[in-house]
């Protein structure tokens, strides 16, 4: 199985976020806590999908990631776009820095 992290959108501003080891959320995928197998992934989802988390984020789900040069990157292009921003507006989104 591919490495996985949990992503969601933040409730108040809607931005894409990734779950961290302390059950918080970061806008930077590199801060995310990573599951290495299916049981771990399931456990992560259980931590993300609680009533309490509902007041912070919306719609958590797992995405596939890989280690590249020591940092986590998404493997599906949908999620690549989501971590960068619109490919037609490179001045916007996380890619804009």
């Amino acid at each position: 199985m591919s490495l996985q992290v949990v992503t969601a959108n933040r409730l108040d501003d809607g931005l894409a976020v990734f779950m961290t080891a302390d059950d918080g959320w970061s806008t930077d995928l590199r801060d995310a806590v990573c599951a290495e197998d299916a049981p771990q992934a399931e456990a992560l989802m259980a931590r993300a999908d609680t009533e309490k988390q509902q007041v912070t984020v919306v719609g958590p789900y797992l995405i596939d990631v890989a280690q590249e040069d020591g940092v986590l990157v998404p493997t599906k292009y949908r999620e690549v776009l989501r971590t960068l921003g619109p490919s037609v507006r490179t001045d916007l989104g996380y890619q804009a820095g």
């Binding site: 959108n9 409730l11 108040d12 501003d13 809607g14 931005l15 894409a16 009533e51 509902q54 007041v55 919306v58 719609g59 599906k76 292009y77 949908r78 776009l81 989501r82 921003g85 619109p86 490919s87 037609v88 507006r89 916007l92 989104g93």
Partner: protein
Amino acid sequence: MYRYDDFDRQLLAERTAQFRDQVARRISGELTEDQFKPLRLMNGVYLQLHAYMLRVAVPYGTMNGEQMRKLGYIARTYDKGYGHFTTRQNIQYNWPKLNEIPDALADLATVEMHAIQTSGNCIRNTTTDQYAGAAADEIEDPRPYCELIRQWSTFHPEFTYLPRKFKIAVTGSPNDRAAVRVHDIGLRMHKNDAGETGFEVIVGGGLGRTPFVGKTVRDFIGKNDLFSYLEAILRVYNRFGRRDNKYKARIKILVHEVGVDEIRRLVEEEWSKIRDGSLRVSDDEIAQYIAQFAPPAFEELQANDPEFERRKQAHPDFAAWVRSNVIAHKQPGYAIANISLKPIGGIPGDATADQMELVGDLADQYSFGDVRVTHEQNLVLPHVKKADLFALWAELNSALLATANLGFVTDIIACPGLDYCALATARSIPLSQRISERFGDLERQYDIGELKIKISGCINACGHHHVGHIGILGLDKRGKEFYQITLGGDASQDASIGKIAGAGFSEAEVVDAIEALITRYIDIRTVGERFIDTYRRVGMDPFKEVLYGDR
């Protein structure tokens, strides 16, 4: 143009407060996301890939200058300085924050605008001809009826939890510019044998994953009876539309499954019980609404303006723009000016805050404060004096709003696709940009002639690809974007659903494939034939051949 009275304003104020309260209850945790989602959708708030999205209604595509400027203000204040005009004559903002949306809505309410029913399983914004009230070919201005439909459908207590969304479109002209045959209900205005004006009622059209051209349930319904008739259709749909599978929940599936004759029987039976009820609209009341949309105070002018003719001689760019973007007005000496939101290589339908504010000003200055949004993602100033066209063009040109490509190959419809949309399977905008660049040369476009390319980033078909002369559907094939081409679609009065040409193309191949199709068309067309005409004459095979050879 319709102006709100105190009742409309009160309703909108209450709605704005209600949604503010709903957002507060969500943020406090009182509402779960599952409970909040239908409430936010009912008010046009989606969650997209990168952020929330807010869809603001432009009822029947008509705005005044102040409203247009306010859209610009919203883009600058609550978004990142731009917005996207859609095939539903609405505008979408891509980056609003949930906790600021109530403020944005309060600002919109000051100019009588809102996001009511721009999503959700309810009756959506009614769309119509962008040239309503100006077109030389119209029977009657459809907007008074659209406004009555707007009021009837706004917070309709019975029809707010329908099986699925419901879209109504109206045309007042025999040349259908509102795609009424691909809506849940299409209303086509015409005169009956007695010379009365009324509507043909078409039901069950739609795009999405199973496209259908709608079928006629009634040849003629008088104006007074229109609303009870709509209510009867909606009641039949609400009761009998499928709710077991959301992909089969649109009325088009009901019509397809039980047949139009049975639908007609059900609707007529229901209607017979309510036709004399309180939804019967009197001539008096209709007259009040017609008066609201009375033509502006046109001047008595000569049909031709010599200065205008001279300007065309002197400025070939202006002449080109007039030829492609300016069309006949019913009032002598006036013209309809189309503003293309399709600059070569640009993002179809996007406009910046500055552009919106400028267009609002230009509407006030040159078009009696009237501006329209088209379902082809362009804008229109409907009532411009011919003598003012040159000055208007110069201002538009300086704001990159004078691309002379209306109806040509670079006037592409494209949905947001995977650059924004959470449901997308592929991107649509970059493809439209590359096609636009490939065919950017205006002379080449004029040689190709009218050609409608429409691109959707998934099977939901927001980009109308089924009714593009050339339609492109973006899909995901083993983790890569690829594009399926359909040919022969048409959204006009001769509506037809395009046919899939064959296997899809990779992102790298698809623009060449489009060019090959167009080259073949040029080789085999007869004089005066548009792409769609040639396709209808020769069929799929000659086009398939250039795409796939002997494959």
